[in-house]
């Protein structure tokens, strides 16, 4: 490691005297405008989704409600169908009528 003497230290501190200004890139303004545009879009996007948790909970609740509703409705319908199918009175009567099963015989 190099050690500096006091004279050198003073020279080092003065080395920035007369420093020239550095130039930012030629497209500084264009890049800045692009960045601002991006930020604007992000802001709009974040505005839409600022209620995100609420939106997710509401959507899920709606989905669960629709599912439950459909399930209950379907179960009711199937109960009715089974009930209807379990007493096919007309069909049995017609069948026995057609084959004369309800007539009494001597045999």
């Amino acid at each position: 490691m190099k050690k500096f003497y006091s004279e050198e230290i003073d020279q080092i501190i003065q080395s920035i005297d007369g420093i020239e200004q550095a130039e930012p890139s030629a497209f500084f303004y264009n890049k800045l405008m692009h960045k601002m545009q991006q930020k604007r879009i992000q802001k709009q996007y974040s505005f839409i989704f600022q209620f995100k948790p609420l939106l997710v909970i509401a959507s899920l609740s709606l989905l669960v409600f629709i599912n439950a509703f459909m399930l209950i409705k379907q179960t009711d319908q199937s109960h009715q169908t089974i009930a209807n199918k379990s007493i096919p009175t007309n069909t049995v009567y017609d069948f026995s009528e057609d084959y004369q099963l309800n007539t009494t015989t001597n045999y």
């Binding site: 080092i12 501190i13 020239e20």
Partner: protein, 187 residues
């Protein structure tokens, strides 16, 4: 000059795009150079300088004109640059902690020696030593030193940017020089 500045501020408050372009054209070099010597990385300095102008655009309505526009912009620029440095230090510390727990290398790499493009070739080596030492100064002393020695502001203007008294600036500069001598001497 004051009238021109007042008109520019008024136009900016009305969100005039031409006024904003005028502002950027007038102050981009000043902002970029101030940020550059603080963060000592060209690409990062440009990003931060852009953030400074976005901040100016967004908060110009709240600018009370009790200071010059340039003073206010210097204030935003130095604050943003120091914030960036703090975040970088936190990230570095966090990276070190993470590297203890994972096999992957989480280190945040330090940039190599900073080469300011405005330094004369024969002074580059000495300037590199100074820039390295500047990083070790306390923030107040460093900002005062940068604004006075590099940006060419006088003590009064610097006190306005740093929102402190003239005496405090004199003290910062005095201590900055002593500390730089110590830091460089011990390098």
């Amino acid at each position: 000059m004051i009238l021109k500045e007042t008109k520019l501020i008024k136009d900016l408050q009305q969100k005039s795009e031409s006024a904003f372009k005028e502002l950027v054209d007038s102050y981009q070099k000043m902002v970029y150079n101030t940020v550059l010597v603080i963060v000592q990385q060209e690409q990062e300095a440009e990003d931060i300088a852009q953030e400074v102008f976005i901040q100016v655009y967004m908060s110009i309505d709240g600018f009370r004109q009790d200071a010059k526009l340039s003073t206010w912009i210097y204030r935003i620029a130095t604050t943003k640059a120091l914030d960036w440095e703090r975040k970088k230090k936190t990230k570095k510390r966090f990276g070190k902690i993470l590297s203890f727990f994972s096999n992957e290398d989480e280190r945040v790499y330090e940039a190599v020696d900073f080469d300011h493009p405005g330094i004369q070739l024969e002074k580059k080596e000495q300037a590199n030593v100074l820039f390295k030492a500047l990083k070790k100064l306390p923030d107040n002393q460093r900002i005062a030193f940068i604004l006075i020695k590099m940006e060419g502001l006088n003590y009064q203007e610097t006190s306005e940017v740093m929102n402190t008294s003239l005496k405090a600036i004199e003290a910062y500069m005095h201590r900055a020089k002593i500390n730089l001598q110590k830091i460089i001497g011990n390098q």
